[in-house]
Symmetry: C2
Subunit: 217 residues, 2 copies
């Protein structure tokens, strides 16, 4: 649908946050907002907001600012949330289950169509309204149902083999919760990583770094 050229990944990472803030403004009944007001609410510069938005088009109006509702919709459209990419979840452990139950896939451009695990005990149980299927039947399933994306909630050790199978099946987009560095092995894929361990370690660093100020040297 769209196709914006050379948008830096820093801009892209800010888009969901704009979307979130605008959604909140919308809920609170705002109809217009200037880049200046938004910048103070979000802790950014007005300049950055205008630069960011102008990567995708001129959504504002001089002397007025931005119409909250239409800007919200525009950003949703830029993000591609009006898609309905089919996604399969691999790994129905604690994390996989939480992701399946917790996320509103439909609001984010996805539809969860299958859940796989190799634990015989789990196979056949339901998560939301989706049965957990034997991982052995992955190929079978993917021949009947095209999977646009795979969500990987699997241990690092299991990842290489599973990703190879998925790649062979034509899956090119991954939401990766495992600590396997997929993108190092394939160059024709899109990967968005969620590295919880990394995130926790960064918190640890920041705590260690600030607690000094208040004490022991």
């Amino acid at each position: 649908m769209h196709k914006y050229q050379n948008i830096s990944s820093q801009v892209i990472k800010r888009l969901p946050r704009y979307y979130r803030f605008l959604g909140e403004l919308l809920d609170r009944g705002f109809t217009r907002i200037s880049s200046r007001e938004l910048s103070t609410k979000m802790g950014l510069t007005a300049s950055q907001i205008r630069q960011d938005l102008n990567c995708f088009g001129g959504f504002g109006q001089q002397g007025y600012g931005y119409a909250v509702k239409s800007l919200y919709n525009e950003i949703g459209h830029i993000l591609g949330l009006d898609h309905s990419y089919s996604a399969i979840l691999i790994g129905a452990g604690n994390l996989g289950k939480a992701v399946a139950v917790h996320m509103s896939f439909e609001k984010r451009g996805f539809k969860l169509i299958g859940i796989f695990d190799n634990d015989k005990q789990k196979i056949g149980t339901m998560i939301r309204d989706i049965p957990v299927t034997d991982l052995d039947d992955l190929e079978l399933f993917c021949k009947e149902n095209k999977a646009d994306a795979a969500i990987l909630c699997i241990p690092k050790e299991a990842a290489p083999e599973i990703v190879e199978r998925l790649h062979d099946l034509g899956v090119r987009n991954y939401w990766n919760f495992s600590h396997f560095d997929i993108s190092m092995y394939y160059d024709d894929i899109v990967v968005e990583n969620v590295h919880l361990n990394d995130s926790l370690m960064i918190l640890c660093y920041r705590i260690s770094d600030t607690s000094e100020a208040t004490g022991e040297e």
Copy 2:
């Protein structure tokens, strides 16, 4: 303990990944590695690796490279993983439970000491070896047990009040899975966000952006 000045957040974000790769090399029996070799393995430039490490000290040796084990330990130390910060989890829903069960807190500088929820059904149940406690008893608990950090797995709407209570109790460090922007309201705290919705939307953008190449304009 440490206290490195003016380390850019981009460098900090790369540290856990260095740590991960070095750990893997260690497992595979490597004893030394040059910035050059590491750079090809990680998809970075050798220059960047050397620059990054030299923010914290000179861990290498000219003509030799880096000793894998000692560099691994150094980075662990820089990250502060040898700490044992006490953490409490707020919210024992799907996500909170998964985080509690899934993470190896001890390896990341933390120790989970309490889990709280306001759902009467959950109170008293055990997650790992920790009982779910009534959120009403948060103040009581925190007076007897110092909480260095809080993990927020709560709905956005519940967040403002809970964070206020935590802040009153002296909790200054947050691992935030909620979509409430804590850092906008307090300036004496450390927040590490995990925004799963944002991450999923970024994946959606990237898919939308690449799938054009292969089709519909």
